[in-house]
Symmetry: C2
Subunit: 764 residues, 2 copies
C-alpha cells in the first residue's frame, strides 16, 4: 500500500483536538469535524466565515437533485443521474469590530483550539482574535445537532473583549446561496422568507425534484440595536453588541430545519403542518434541555457500543472516531434514509449509497442497533419497484439493484459498473440473510425479504447463462467486487453469491410456505411465481459454476484469471499511485493485479463455508496481488490475516482503517469521510482480533490480542442482550448485560453466557 499517515490532530482517547490552525488542513478539518444525526449533516466549517479554501456543506438525507447525461446510443445506459445537494448555511455568522471581520484566513489570532468531543457530540472551538489596533477578543463557538429531535441544531457563540470595552457587531442568518460544488450551481429556488421578531425563516425548493426545505432559527442574546439585511437568497440580522472588558457576551441560535423528501400531497400537507407550527416549536426549545438530551443519547449509545483499547492511544482515538461517525451517519431513526459513501460529510460520490451498506455497514448495525439494521434493509424493500425497473432496462426479469443510488434509481453513469456489477443485488440478499441469521426475525424476512429474494432470483435466472456444453450455469460479462477485472466470465464471487441468493430464496420460500401459508400464498400470487420458476432456481443454484483448483485449493477469481500476465505490484513506482490517474484506463485491467478483495471478500462473508487451509491458500495467493486501492480492502485482509494467525500482517492492515480519515491516508478526506471504511474499522476489531463470526449457526469468537496492545474490549448487541467482551494477553472475559442465557462458541467450544464474567484462556 503506497499510503502513509499524516498525523495532525492531537491524540486523545475521547476527543479529536486541533491545537493551532494550519490552513493546509482547513478542508480536511471541515470533514473531520462534521456533525450529523442521520437526518442532516453539517461540515465543520467556521461559523464566522472564512475567506480561504473551504467547502461549506449542509446536507439532508434524501434531498437530492438530478442532471441529464449525454445521451448514449446504447440501451441500458442511464440518461439521468442524481446527487445529494448542498443546502442552506444555517450557521451563517460574521463578527465585526472596529470595521474588521474575524477571518482565520486573514486575521491575526492566538490560542486556537477546536475540539470534537466524541463522548457528547459537541463541537467547540475558540481563539483570541487580535485586531489591528491591538484589541483582543476571545471567541468561543459551540455547536451540536440534537440526537433526540433530528430537525434541531444549536449554535452558541461567546464573545469576550479581553483588553477593551466597546462595540462588537454580530451578523447571524440563513444563507441559501450555497452552491452544489460539483456542478457549480445553486440547486435551490427560495420561495418564502420572513424576518420575525426573534428569528428568521426561509423556505427553499429544489430546482427540479419538487422537494422543500424550511430553515428557521431563533436568536437569544442581549443586544443594543438590531437591523435586518435582506439579499436575494440570504437573510441576515445585524446585532450591535455592547461589550465590556472581561465580560462575556453570549449568543445562541436555535435552528429548526424541516425537509420534505416526498412529493405526495399527503407529504406536502404534513410538511405544511410542520412549518405552520414552527414559531411555537422554536419558542419552546431550550438550549439546556436540547444539550442534556443529546448528552444522554450519546451516553446511552457509548455504554453499549464502545470499544476500548489499552496500550494504543492512536487506535483508541481512531476506533472511537469511527464508532461516533457510524452513529452520527445512521442510527435507524427513519425508514428510507441511506448511508452515503461519504455519509453527510461531503459531495463526493454524490451522496449515493453503494453495496458497502449491506457488505460493510450492516454488520455494525446488526450488532449495535438492530432496529437500525432493519430500517437499513427496508430501504431496499421500499426501492424494489425501482430495482425492477432497472432490471427491465437491463433486459432482465426481476430486480437489479443499483450500484449507486439515493432514491433507488441507478445513478452510476459508467455502464461498466452499473451494468456489469451484480454485487449490489446479491448483497441485498446477503444483508437480509445475515440479519435473519443473527436476529431470527423470520416475520420480517417473510414479509419484506421474500418479495425481494424472488425478484433477485428472477434476475439471476435471466442475467446468467449456461456454458457452451450446458453443464454449468454462471454469469458472463461481469465485474466482481475487484474493479480491476472488468467484463469477465464466471467471477467466483458473483457466481457464489448468486448461488447463495438462490439457495436462500428457496430456503425462505420453503419455510414461509410451511410456517406462514397465508403470507406465502399472497406473495406467490402477487409475484406470479410458478413452480417451474422455483425448479429453475434450484437447477441453476445446483449447477452454478465455482471456479476452483482442487490441487491448490485456490478459487479462481474468474475463468482465465490464472493465465493473466503477472504484475509484481511491489515494483510499481509509488508515484504511479493512484493508478487511475497514472495508468491508462484499459491498462489497469490487463493483468492479475487486484484493486480490492474478491475471492477473499467471499471468504469473509461466508467464512464458515471454507476451511482454514483453503483460506490460507487463497490469502497467500491473492493478497500479494492486491494493491488495496479501495479504502475497504485493508480491513478485510486484516480480519482474515488474524484468522490465519498472521499477526503482523493483521496489525499492519488494521491501523489504516481506524485512522483512515484522521490521518488522511488517501489525501482526499477533504471531500468527505470514508464512511464505509469507518464501518470496516469496527469489523476489523470485532471480527479481526475478536475473531467473531456471524455467518454460522452459532455466534463464534476466537479472540487474539495484538502484541502492541495490553487489552481491548467491545460490546455486541445479540439476542436481545448486550455482550461485554474483553481480551488481554491471557484471557478473554465475556458476560452479558441481562444474563439471558446466550449460547456462543469460543474457539469452537460451546458456552452459555451469564451476567457473571466467563473467563476463557486465550489460545496460542
Amino acid at each position: 500500500m503506497a499510503k502513509s499517515a499524516d498525523i495532525y490532530y492531537k491524540v486523545d482517547p475521547w476527543r479529536v483536538v486541533e491545537t493551532g490552525f494550519d490552513k493546509e488542513y482547513a478542508v480536511v478539518s471541515e470533514s473531520i469535524f462534521s456533525l450529523g444525526n442521520e437526518y442532516m449533516g453539517t461540515r465543520g466549517s467556521f461559523d464566522e466565515g472564512y475567506s480561504g479554501d473551504g467547502l461549506i456543506g449542509n446536507y439532508f438525507n434524501g434531498i437530492y437533485e438530478g442532471a441529464d447525461l449525454e445521451k448514449s446510443g446504447y440501451k441500458g445506459i442511464i440518461s439521468r443521474t442524481e446527487f445529494i445537494v448542498n443546502s442552506a448555511d444555517w450557521l451563517y455568522t460574521r463578527i465585526e469590530a472596529d470595521g474588521e471581520c474575524a477571518d482565520l484566513n486573514t486575521s491575526t489570532f492566538e490560542d486556537f483550539e477546536r475540539v470534537l468531543d466524541l463522548k457528547t457530540g459537541i463541537l467547540t472551538r475558540s481563539y483570541t482574535w487580535i485586531l489591528k489596533s491591538g484589541k483582543k477578543v476571545r471567541l468561543e463557538f459551540e455547536r451540536f445537532l440534537s440526537m433526540k429531535e433530528a430537525e434541531i441544531a444549536v449554535q452558541k457563540i461567546k464573545i469576550t473583549p479581553l483588553n477593551f470595552s466597546g462595540e462588537v457587531i454580530l451578523y447571524s442568518g440563513i444563507d441559501f446561496t450555497q452552491i452544489h460544488h460539483m456542478t457549480g450551481r445553486s440547486m435551490w429556488n427560495v420561495a418564502d422568507t420572513t424576518f420575525e421578531e426573534d428569528g428568521i425563516t426561509m423556505l427553499g425548493n429544489t430546482v427540479s425534484t419538487d422537494q422543500s426545505l424550511f430553515v428557521s432559527c431563533r436568536f437569544q442574546c442581549d443586544y443594543e440595536e438590531k437591523s435586518d439585511i435582506r439579499e436575494d437568497k440570504k437573510l441576515v440580522r445585524r446585532f450591535l453588541l455592547r461589550a465590556e472588558e472581561g465580560k462575556t457576551l453570549s449568543f445562541t441560535k436555535l435552528i429548526r430545519n424541516i425537509s420534505r423528501k416526498g412529493t405526495t400531497s399527503q407529504e406536502k400537507d404534513a410538511f405544511q403542518g410542520k412549518c405552520a407550527e414552527n414559531s411555537k416549536i422554536l419558542a419552546a426549545l431550550s438550549y439546556e434541555e436540547l444539550k442534556e438530551d443529546t448528552l444522554k443519547w450519546w451516553e446511552d449509545t457509548w455504554n453499549d457500543s464502545d470499544i476500548a483499547i489499552e496500550g494504543d492511544e492512536l487506535n483508541q482515538q481512531g476506533i472511537r472516531f469511527c464508532i461516533f461517525q457510524m452513529h452520527q451517519t445512521y442510527h435507524g431513526a427513519d425508514k428510507g434514509t441511506i448511508i452515503g459513501a461519504k455519509g453527510l460529510t461531503g459531495e463526493a460520490y454524490s451522496g449515493n449509497t453503494f453495496w458497502d451498506t449491506e457488505a460493510y455497514c450492516l454488520p455494525f448495525y446488526i450488532f449495535n442497533n438492530t432496529e437500525a439494521a432493519k430500517h437499513l434493509l427496508e430501504f431496499r424493500y421500499l426501492t424494489l419497484p425501482e430495482a425492477m425497473e432497472r432490471a427491465k432496462a437491463l433486459d432482465c426479469k426481476g430486480a437489479f439493484y443499483p450500484i449507486a443510488t439515493i432514491t433507488g434509481r441507478e445513478c452510476c453513469s459508467l455502464w461498466q459498473h452499473a451494468s456489469l456489477q451484480l454485487q449490489a443485488s446479491t448483497a441485498v440478499a446477503y444483508g437480509y440473510w445475515h440479519y435473519e441469521n443473527i436476529t431470527g426475525d423470520e416475520e420480517f424476512i417473510f414479509e419484506k425479504g421474500l418479495p425481494i429474494l424472488i425478484e433477485l432470483s428472477r434476475m439471476l435466472a435471466t442475467r446468467g447463462d449456461w456454458s457452451a456444453d450446458k453443464t454449468r450455469y454462471g454469469f458472463y460479462g461481469v465485474m466482481g467486487p475487484d474493479e480491476f477485472q472488468m467484463m469477465v466470465n464466471n467471477n467466483c464471487y458473483t457466481n457464489y453469491m448468486g448461488k447463495k441468493t438462490l439457495e436462500y430464496t428457496l430456503d425462505v420460500l420453503a419455510r414461509c410456505g410451511a410456517k406462514a401459508a397465508e403470507i406465502y400464498q399472497e406473495i406467490i400470487k402477487d409475484r406470479g411465481l410458478t413452480t417451474e420458476e422455483i425448479e429453475y432456481f434450484r437447477n441453476i443454484a445446483e449447477h452454478m459454476y465455482i471456479p476452483y483448483e482442487k490441487e491448490t485449493g485456490i478459487f479462481e477469481q474468474h475463468e482465465g484469471y490464472f493465465n493473466l500476465p503477472h504484475i509484481d505490484i511491489d515494483k510499481i513506482p509509488i508515484e504511479e499511485f493512484p493508478l487511475y490517474h497514472h495508468w491508462t484506463y484499459d491498462r489497469i485491467y490487463r493483468n492479475d493485479m487486484l484493486k480490492q478483495p474478491d475471492v477473499l471478500m467471499l471468504m469473509l462473508m461466508y467464512n464458515r463455508d471454507f476451511t482454514d487451509a483453503q483460506l490460507k491458500s487463497n490469502y497467500e495467493y491473492y493478497e500479494p496481488r492486491c494493491i488495496h486501492e479501495s479504502s475497504l480492502s485493508p480491513s478485510v485482509h486484516s480480519i482474515l490475516a488474524s484468522q490465519l494467525k498472521k499477526e503482523e500482517e493483521a496489525y499492519k492492515f488494521f491501523g489504516f482503517a481506524t485512522r483512515m480519515d484522521l490521518d488522511n491516508y488517501n489525501r482526499n478526506t477533504g471531500e468527505g469521510l470514508h464512511t464505509t471504511s469507518i464501518a470496516a474499522a469496527w469489523m476489523n476489531i470485532v471480527y479481526g482480533f475478536g475473531g467473531m463470526r456471524s455467518d454460522g449457526k452459532e455466534l463464534t469468537f476466537a479472540p487474539a490480542l495484538p502484541k502492541e496492545w495490553k487489552s481491548y474490549s467491545f460490546k455486541i448487541h445479540f439476542g436481545g442482550d448486550v455482550l461485554f467482551v474483553s481480551v488481554d494477553k491471557d484471557n478473554m472475559k465475556i458476560s452479558t448485560k441481562k444474563g439471558s442465557g446466550i449460547q456462543v462458541l469460543i474457539y469452537e467450544k460451546p458456552y452459555t453466557l451469564g451476567q457473571e464474567e466467563l473467563v476463557v484462556p486465550i489460545a496460542r
Copy 2:
C-alpha cells in the same frame, strides 16, 4: 441476416435511373446520386431547392472541425473529436414563374427522371413543372465534377416553356448557411464575399480549425435583367429570363472550389495565390472541354476496371455502381486524402477513416490503380507522429493508429474501441505488406514502411504481455474485428496479426540492411532502434499465442470463447435487429454470437497460411454464429464460401454487397453510402468467384461461375500490365494488355500469360 432488398431504381447495366419521384426515397437518393472526385463530394440534392426532408451536403476531403468531449477522469480516453464538415451549397438555385417556385415537395410535376450515368459520371435530371395556371415548364439539370481539374464542378440547367411565353426567374448563388447536421451548427465564418460581373466569390473559414474554402462561380446565360441579393452568409444573383414557348433557355454555372487544409504559412500563401488568379482561371474554363476531359477520364478508367456480368442485370448494375463509387471517392489524386467510411456522401461516421481502408479498400486500389494504393498508404506515413502521440497516451511505446480519424488523431470517443482495438495498427502493416507483395516496391517499403513497422512493433512489444507462466506472448484486454466480443484476452486475430507485423518488420529490417545499408542506418539511427529491441521483437513473434484446437482444426476466437453460452441466432426475432438498438449494451457481449468475421477475416487476409480443411472447420463453426451486422461481413463469408465450393452460400452472401446501397439493405443509405462495403463487393467477385489470392508468392486464381450467371469478366492491374479475365461455365480465359510475360497460378498450376487468350477449363 435479417435484411431485405428494397428495389426502387430501374435496373440498367450502366445507369442508375429513377423514374418518377417518390418522396420517401428523397434522402436515400441524395446519397445514391452523390458525385465525388476525391477532392470534393456533393450529395444528389435538388439544385432548385426542396422543402421536404433532405440533407444538402458538400464535403471536402480533409476539411474538418472539432468538438470537445465531456472530460473523462481516466487516462487515454480522448477529450476532443474531429469530423468532416458540411460546406457551402455551391449548386444553390431557385426557379420561379408566376410567383411560384419549383419545389418537388409541393409543386405539381410529371415525367420526372433522374439518371446517374456510371460510364461518364454525369448526373442528369428532368421533369415537367406544371404551374397552378396550367403553364408547363420543362426543366433539365445536369451536373458533374471534373475528374481532371479536381476543383471544378459544373452545373447546367435548361428551361423550356412548353405551352406559354413569358418571364422565368432563376436565382443562382453560393450558400454558406448550410449546417453540420450532426451538431446542428454552422461551421463557417464567412470572411469575404464579392459579386462580380459574371459571377460570385465567397471565402469561408472554419470556426476553429483555421482552414479555408474559397467558393466561386461564373454564370453563362442570356438574361433580360439581373440583380443581386446579399444575405449574411449567402450571395444570390437573380436573373430575369425571357422565355419563349418551345424554346430552351440554357444556364451554365462553372464552379471553382479551393480548399485549404494545411495551416502553415506556405500553405496559406499557396491558397492566396490560387484565389488571386481565380477570375482568370474561371474565365478560361469551357463547359465542353471540362465535359470532354471527364468523359475521357471515365472511359480510360472503365477500360481497365470494368467488371461485366452476363445473365445477372441486378448485380451487373450493382458492381458497376460500386466500382464507380470507389473511383469517385478516391483515386490517389493527392497524398494525405482519406477514404471516409461514407466517402464524401454524408456525415455519418463523421467522415472518419477506419481500418477498412487497409483491409477492404486497399486491395481494390492495388489491382486497379497502384499509385492510388501507394498514396493511400502514405497517409499512414504522414500521420505516424500522431500515431506515436496516441501510443504515448495509451502508455505504449511506438505507434498506435487510430480507430477513426481525419487528421491522424484518434476521433473515436468510445474507449472500448479506441483503446482496445489493435486492428487499425496491424492493418497498416498488413497494407504495406500486401502492397509490397504485389508491387515489389521495395524502395517505398524501406523508406516509408520501415519507420512505421518499427514503431508498430514497439507498440506491440509494450501493449502485449506474457502469460502467467511466461511461456506465451499475447494481447490482453482487446476487442478484435468482431465488435460483439469486448475486453477479451488473446484474440486470435489480434495475436496473429501482431505476429505477422513483427515478422514483416524483421523481414524488412533484414532486407533493408542487406540491400540499402544507407537508408537502413539512417532509419535505425532516427528511430534509436537497438539490437535488443530487434531480438525482443523476434522473441515475442516466436512465442505469440495462437489459440487453436488441434483435434477440430478450429482457431479459438479468443481464450475462453469456446466456453461461452451459445445463442441460436436464427431464433432471435427479426424485430430485435439491429441488436444495438434492442438489446442492452452489455447483453450483446455475453455469448458466442459474432457481429462480423474475426477468425475468418484472418483466414481471408492470410489465406494461404491455412489449409482448406482448416478453413472448412472454421467456416462451419463461425459462420452460423455470425449475424453479419457489419456491412462488410457478407462479402468475407461469400469469398470463403466460394473457396469451399459452398456455391449457394457464396451467392447468397454476395448479392448483399453489390446492391447494399442501391437496395438500401440497412435502411440507412440516406446517411451516406457504405463506401467500404462497396470495396468489399469488388473483392467479392474477384477474390470470391474469381478465386484470386494475393497473399502468396504468386498471384493465383481458382475461378468458378455462379450457376445464376452466364459469364463474367474482370480486369486486374498487375506487374505493370493489365490482366483480362473472363469466366464462363466451361472456361476461364485470361490474357494481358501488354503481354509482358506475367506468371500466375491457376488452380495451383503455373502459367505465363501473354496477349493471346489462355484458356483453362473450369474445375468442377
